[in-house]
């Protein structure tokens, strides 16, 4: 007697906790919402256009790449949307269309797919793209220069640039409160510290972001900033200023926590985050770049495979 029914066969285990790749990305997208909304509120219609173009072209590149390389389309897993969104959030609101399209090409095709696709990217694709753009068209990535024609009801220059050029005196009239609620010049979705913290805490609570990385990053950054500040309060701004200015909080929750380019073991996560914070402050206070986050992230991305070698001994291993 031959059984007519067709059963599913597969290998053990037969249970799964139901987690999945798309849900991870869509939750990250949800987490960006508060910061994105605040940013759109401050920077207006040009920000909406830049962000939409960024997401749309990121999806387009992903789809096209899959089509040309004859692979099943991976657009639905949400990673391309997330990368497009993060790239857009880093941009100045008035970024020209060709810059956005080139940027998402660099992020999706070069930063993600050419390195081997999801899970195989040694750098955060959006960060890599921003770094290349900054090196190539410094003028267009310069947030002060780009936003010069917009009118704001708050200090119309980039706080970190001012701090770097003129010392902490220059920023004494910028209130920390303004920085927190996003009243500062910056990338579209990166200015409102409180909204970013909200999104970050959401991701940590839901288990999509490992708390060790942002916490150690913030700690590393604040401690280094405090040391500089103590050494020379005239020249160097304090830790709270650095925490809420520039890309800091955005990096803490959305850039350095990228799965593929960050460590997974406990101690390496702490080292990785702290290292990121320290490098950022060194670039800001000693180096030439005003924000420094982008290059700090790339640097710790490079160190990641090495750092992640520090891991507990597996059970039963003697050596």
């Amino acid at each position: 007697m031959i059984s007519q029914k067709k059963f599913v066969v597969s290998h053990a285990p037969f249970w799964h906790n139901g987690s999945g790749v798309p849900e991870r990305h869509f939750n990250a997208i949800i987490a960006t919402a508060p910061a994105v909304l605040m940013g759109l509120g401050y920077f207006g219609i040009s920000a909406v256009a830049a962000l939409c173009l960024s997401v749309a072209t990121a999806i387009g590149w992903e789809w096209l790449f899959c089509l040309i390389s004859k692979r099943e389309s991976t657009v639905a897993d949400g990673q391309a949307i997330l990368i497009g969104l993060i790239f857009g959030m880093l941009l100045p609101a008035t970024a020209p269309w060709w810059l956005v399209v080139t940027g998402t090409f660099l992020a999706i095709v070069v930063g993600k797919q050419l390195f081997g696709g999801i899970g195989a990217t040694p750098f955060h694709p959006a960060v890599l793209s921003v770094a290349i753009l900054t090196a190539s068209w410094k003028m267009y990535m310069d947030i002060d220069a780009q936003l010069v024609n917009l009118n704001f009801d708050f200090t119309p220059y980039h706080p970190l640039v001012a701090a770097k050029a003129f010392g902490s005196q220059a920023i004494s009239d910028i209130s920390i409160c303004d920085l927190m609620i996003g009243k500062q010049i910056g990338g579209i979705g990166t200015t409102c510290g409180l909204a970013l913290i909200l999104g970050g805490v959401y991701l940590i609570l839901r288990g999509y972001v490992r708390w060790q990385i942002p916490v150690s990053f913030i700690a590393g950054l604040c401690i280094t900033a405090a040391l500089f500040h103590l050494a020379n309060p005239e020249k160097y701004a304090g830790p709270i200023f650095h925490l809420f200015a520039g890309y800091t909080l955005f990096a803490a929750f959305f850039l350095i926590t990228d799965d593929s380019s960050s460590p997974v073991n406990h101690i390496p996560m702490l080292i990785y985050g702290a290292l990121g914070g320290v490098i950022t402050m060194l670039i800001r206070n000693v180096g030439t770049d005003a924000d420094g986050i982008i290059f700090a992230v790339l640097l710790i991305n490079i160190c990641n495979p090495l750092i992640d070698k520090i891991r507990p001994k597996a059970v039963g291993k003697v050596a």
Partner: protein, 428 residues
């Protein structure tokens, strides 16, 4: 099945069954019209006369592929042999599936009875290799790998299953007797009895064995994990338990030995835990060789296309493709999953989320290991990323965000490496 909670990603915490409150009586499954027994086949030879189609067999009769020894099993029914078909088990093991039309009244083959006076390893090999819970007793006689320690384990190796523990708890005197017989047959004095400690909190009987408790948290009762807890080390590449002088046997098999030697008949009923689609448990007792379809029908478990039937538990069992599959001597449980409850694997690569790292009980760097295994670099996986620390619990696959069948890769890697070693040994 526990799904990921809304907040956080805590380690999954599973506990083995303890059978401490309800103590069910197994439901008897009626004798089916035909049973199917699996006999290890000697490739390239014809079957012996005793198992040719048309031959009569008695309950308890020893059946083997060729007449002069070779691996044997014991017939669980009285009846007429109808057919044999080749059958390939897990990892390419060759069997002959023998269909036997059963007769209502059992006629017992009495050849075992005369052997009960003096237990020997040969008797165990001949009559207990296919007995409920069975073990490969031939490993006790390999001169190249002398066995020094026998480990009797009383817990179940998978979640929700309570077969072995039930046997241990309900037939403790048979198990004790079995331990005595094992001792006298093998001459081995060092015997460990291992069971989840919480299941035996109030037990104060005397066991002729060194009793060890293990935690009730999964995967403490995985054989490899028990080995580690007893001996403080893991098996190395190419090693089996027997290579290190350890022989594993389940309490159910020991109980069968104890019962057989006191009653003169080898037991032919297998206790199973049946888990229906809503994960309710039913304890049943069926003849070895009973097609599972009948058992499921008796319990009113309906089967549809794209459901999944699993021999064993949810973490380490194996899926079967037909409801005609027979209950075998080591089938502890049958788990039935509804098509809608199945979460399928995907072919995504590892996204490096690290969930597996935070879950693995033996700290295997799964995220790195899986990259090597997916590329077929098994030896590198073993050398660099601790393949042989894995106890095959499946928790990493359970939490994997990319839904990679990690455990499958791990088992395949171990299997392939063992095969390569074997081929090299042959060439030398």
């Amino acid at each position: 099945m526990q799904l990921k909670s809304f907040f956080g990603s805590p380690k999954p915490e599973f506990r083995y069954e303890l059978l401490s409150t309800a103590f069910p009586e197994p439901m008897a499954v009626a004798l089916p019209e035909t049973v199917t027994l699996l006999i290890p086949e000697q490739p390239g030879t014809a079957p012996c006369q005793a198992i040719k189609a048309g031959a009569k067999v008695k309950t308890g009769q020893k059946l083997s592929w060729d007449a002069n020894g070779g691996p044997s099993i014991v017939s669980s029914v009285t009846g007429t042999i109808q057919s044999h078909t080749p059958y390939t088990g897990d990892y390419g093991k060759k069997f002959a599936a023998i269909g036997i039309a059963t007769e209502k009244a059992d006629q017992w083959d009495e050849s075992f009875q005369s052997l009960t006076g003096e237990p020997t390893v040969q008797t165990l090999i001949d009559h207990f290799s296919g007995a409920p819970g069975g073990a490969d007793f031939s490993k006790l006689t390999d001169p190249g790998k002398p066995i020094k320690t026998i480990v009797v384990y009383g817990g179940d190796t998978d979640l929700l299953v309570e077969t072995n523990l039930f046997v241990l708890k309900s037939r403790i005197s048979a198990v004790m007797n079995g331990v005595k017989i094992l001792k006298s047959a093998t001459g081995i004095d060092e015997i460990f009895a291992v069971a989840p400690s919480e299941a035996f909190q109030n037990y104060d009987g005397h066991f002729e064995a060194n009793v060890k408790g293990v935690p009730v948290d999964y995967p403490a009762c995985q054989p490899l994990m028990i080995y580690y807890q007893l001996f403080g080390k893991m098996l190395e590449q190419g090693q089996s338990f027997e290579d290190t002088g350890v022989f594993f046997i389940r309490a159910e098999a020991v109980g069968a030995i104890g019962q057989a030697f006191s009653q003169g008949r080898v037991p032919v009923e297998k206790i199973l835990t049946i888990l229906d689609k809503s994960q309710r448990k039913h304890l049943v007792s069926a003849r070895i060789g009973t097609p599972i379809g009948g058992i499921l029908k008796m319990l009113n478990i309906s089967l549809n296309d794209r459901d999944r039937i699993i021999f064993g538990g949810p973490m380490t069992g194996r899926a079967v493709y037909s409801e005609q599959q027979p209950v075998q001597f080591d089938t502890d449980a049958i788990l039935v999953q509804d098509a809608n409850d199945i979460i399928l694997n995907s072919d995504y690569p590892c996204i490096n989320c690290g969930e597996c790292i935070r879950t693995c009980p033996t700290r295997v760097p799964v995220n790195m290991l899986i990259r090597f295994l997916e590329a077929g670099e098994y030896q590198d996986g073993a050398d660099l990323y601790d393949l042989y620390s894995c106890v095959e619990c499946g928790l990493c696959s359970y939490v994997c965000t990319a839904r990679i069948p990690i455990l499958q890769y791990i088992k395949l890697a171990k299997f392939e490496l063992a095969r390569m070693t074997l081929a090299e040994e042959k060439n030398d």
